[in-house]
């Protein structure tokens, strides 16, 4: 009622305020849950990372400031793990995106049995990474595994998939991509299905080839969905832990010693929950920077 009596600008201003308040009211329950399940552990992790808390001396005092961060950064293997994680995540996400886009484009043209294809695609996604790693561990076992058995029966030499420091990194990426690519396919397929048909009809009338349609229409229109898929997958890849734990334990040498696994070892083998938390914050910081960068790219383009 109040807005009726006000001038246009005031009316608009009041409406914005009302919408803002209503928006916050709707968001409040979700934000409260987030604060409890995310905020409290995060604050506790900050306390741990800046304290002398270890499993042998489980007390948060004295406050040690950035000492744990400096101690972690002083470890040469931290920098190795950090670089390896960046390399691993970048390669895995690029592979997942390219493969995912290719399969999603093919599925977009499929008319028959679409539901069956999608059902098959969700299987790896529905499996826990530990199960996936255990299955691939058995398949890739160099002496008794099926993969090498097939290679040998084809007259080739067996391959040391996880025991070679040159190959283990790529093998873990392969297993990761095998599991994660279906998620990218599903997101991109949903994005493709929601694209408007009119631009394509106009392009056909103008005589655009399939490639031109893909390059000038599909890709630009798919960009927001693709960026979201890339961000989600980047976050997933930065957190990779289970595959390394089951397949290689970070070896051979330090070939697969990703940052999440490094943080786990600091916390549970070294009993230093404080240093483990500090390492996790380095990971969080990296993910945050990349996420913000990607969101900026989306907002600028749009």
């Amino acid at each position: 009622m109040a807005s009726v009596t006000m001038s246009g600008n005031e009316e608009t201003g009041l409406r914005v305020d009302r919408w803002t308040v209503t928006g916050w009211k709707f968001a409040a329950p979700g934000l409260t849950v987030l604060a409890i399940v995310m905020g409290i552990p995060l604050v506790y992790a900050v306390i741990l990372a800046t304290s002398s808390f270890t499993l042998l001396h489980p007390r948060v005092s004295p406050f040690v400031g950035f000492e744990n961060f400096l101690s972690v950064m002083d470890d040469e293997y931290f920098w190795h793990s950090l670089w390896l994680t960046i390399k691993y995540s970048a390669i895995a996400v690029i592979c997942e995106f390219l493969l995912g886009l290719g399969v999603a484009l093919m599925l977009n043209r499929v008319v028959k049995l679409k539901a069956i294809y999608f059902a098959i695609l969700t299987i790896p996604m529905a499996m826990s990474p530990v199960s996936v790693a255990l299955i691939w561990h058995m398949l890739l076992q160099p002496n008794l595994g099926i993969v090498n058995e097939l290679l040998v029966s084809a007259g080739l030499d067996g391959v040391d998939w996880l025991g070679s420091s040159n190959l283990a990194f790529w093998t873990v990426i392969f297993v990761d991509v095998w599991q994660q690519v279906s998620f990218v396919i599903l997101i991109l397929a949903a994005g493709l299905a929601s694209l408007p048909k009119d631009p394509y009809e106009a392009a056909e009338v103008d005589g655009a080839t399939d490639f031109q349609q893909f390059w000038y229409l599909t890709l630009p229109m798919l960009r927001p969905v693709a960026t979201i898929a890339i961000i989600i997958q980047l976050i997933n890849e930065f957190r990779t832990y289970d595959l390394v734990y089951v397949l290689t334990k970070g070896g051979p040498g330090v070939a697969t010693d990703l940052l999440s696994f490094f943080a786990y070892k600091k916390a549970f083998l070294g009993l230093g929950i404080n240093e483990g938390s500090a390492t996790s914050f380095a990971l969080l910081f990296l993910v945050l920077v990349l996420t913000i960068a990607f969101f900026r790219v989306i907002s600028r383009r749009s």
Binding site: L56, N143, G251, G253, V254, D257, L269
Partner: protein, 431 residues
């Protein structure tokens, strides 16, 4: 109706409350102990005898079985909680410094004194390895997993191989007496016998650290000397690492750098390896016709060439974060399972005893004549350094061993780093 409704309601509620309260009360009489156990034959042996314990004491014992690599984290999570779900702890010797140092385990001496439990029959080396920490008894040794060499007798007796070995080395084909002989033999078998010379568990961490320790002790090396000084980077240490790298690069199965105990066991059982440095109680399994038809009757056990292998063992502990009643029940179980009668019953099923009276028991020796060699393996074993950060040191050492074995680091540099890592962690632990 209204007048009758309230008493009826109250009566019904009281009856329901009584009934629901009575059920847990009846269950409460039955004490159930929970224990997290490694999924190995030793656990299955004890599990088969649990009905007897329940019959004797009325206490039920529930085992949750897990692979070794998962156990430490799960136990630590329980030990740092307000009340541990597990009432009895199966503790590896590698954690026998860490858990007491953190104050997670109860001192068992009062329980021993109160129940007059006799510690004398327990092999002193096992009590030193896994029982005492800073002169206090926190664990009762459960079973040992000292390591020796299991090898194929049939390959050593093969006439063609004998001739070829003599021609190549000028020596007789025999059980190796030194570490150098062992690695030389391993490489020879790989080149001439169509099998891996050794099934090695080179995965980074516990597998390669434990395996390398056997090489170190066989070469006459130590991690720390009697005065607590780190002496890993000695001539013996260099020799041990050199031979370890040589064998893993030239004498073993493909994929050794990612192999665990299970992988080496399968390979040996399949008849695809000449030898493996492993826990002595693996012998009956590899010698079992039903499980390993390719190797049954063809394998034997010996002390690690050089005379000393890695000593290891598990112990029983009681968490501090338990009620006194549950601690008492846990002790009843520990004293039963490690008592003479149960120990012999376990040994008759292949248990790796920690009591000398079990090794010398006539019935046991009649069934398992190789327990004589097993006792030699146990007696001659030396220990990995046990302190608060033993588990972390396994990772530090394992990383360097893996780097050296994969050719990504020079053995001399890897040994230097492993030695400095040990010094750093010992200092951190205040030792």
């Amino acid at each position: 109706m209204r007048i009758n409704f309230l008493p009826s309601l109250l009566g019904g509620a009281s009856l329901a409350a009584l009934l629901t309260a009575a059920a847990p009360a009846a269950q409460a009489d039955q004490v159930t102990l929970h224990a997290l156990m490694e999924d190995v034959p030793e656990t299955q042996i004890i599990e088969s005898l649990l009905p007897e314990f329940e019959k004797e004491t009325g206490i039920k014992v529930d085992f949750q079985k897990l692979v070794y690599s998962e156990m430490h984290d799960k136990l630590v999570t329980q030990l740092t909680s307000n009340e541990s779900f597990y009432n009895v702890m199966e503790v590896d010797f590698l954690w026998a410094g860490e858990f007491p140092a953190a104050g997670w385990l109860a001192d068992l001496q009062p329980f021993v004194e109160k129940s007059k439990f006799d510690l004398k029959p327990i092999i002193p080396a096992m009590l030193d390895l896994v029982g005492y920490y800073q002169q206090k008894l926190y664990l009762i040794p459960m079973y040992n997993y000292s390591m020796g060499m299991i090898y194929r007798k049939d390959l050593l007796e093969d006439a063609k191989l004998k001739a070829a070995y003599k021609e190549k080395t000028g020596k007789e084909l025999a059980v190796p007496a030194t570490l150098e002989d062992y690695v030389e033999l391993s490489k020879f078998m790989k080149a001439n016998a169509g099998v891996a010379g050794a099934a090695m568990q080179g995965q980074r961490g516990d597998p390669n650290s434990m395996e390398f320790s056997n090489y170190l002790f066989s070469a006459g090396g130590e991690y720390v000397d009697k005065d607590g000084k780190v002496v890993l980077n000695s001539d013996a240490g260099k020799k041990a690492l050199g031979l370890y790298v040589d064998n893993i690069q030239h004498g073993v199965q493909q994929g050794a750098l990612s192999a665990t105990l299970d992988d080496t066991m399968r390979l040996m059982c399949d008849g695809k390896a000449f030898s493996m440095v492993t826990y002595w109680w693996m012998l009956p399994q590899i010698d079992d016709k039903a499980k390993c038809p390719n190797t049954a009757g063809k394998v034997a056990l010996s002390v690690m060439p050089g005379g000393h292998g890695e000593s290891g063992g598990w112990g029983w502990g009681i968490p501090q974060n338990q009620s006194p009643e549950m601690q008492e029940a846990a002790w009843k179980f520990i004293s039963w399972v490690q008592g003479e009668k149960t120990s012999i019953a376990r040994a008759m099923q292949g248990h790796a005893p920690v009591r000398s009276d079990t090794y010398s028991n006539a019935e046991v020796l009649k069934k398992y004549p190789y327990y004589k060699e097993a006792q030699d393996v146990v007696k001659s074993g030396k220990s990995f350094p046990i302190f608060a950060y033993s588990a972390q040191y396994e990772d530090v050492l394992g990383r360097q061993l893996s780097l050296a074995a994969s050719g990504d680091a020079k053995p001399a540099d890897a040994l230097q780093e492993a030695s400095e890592g040990l010094e750093k962690l010992l200092k951190k632990a205040g030792q």
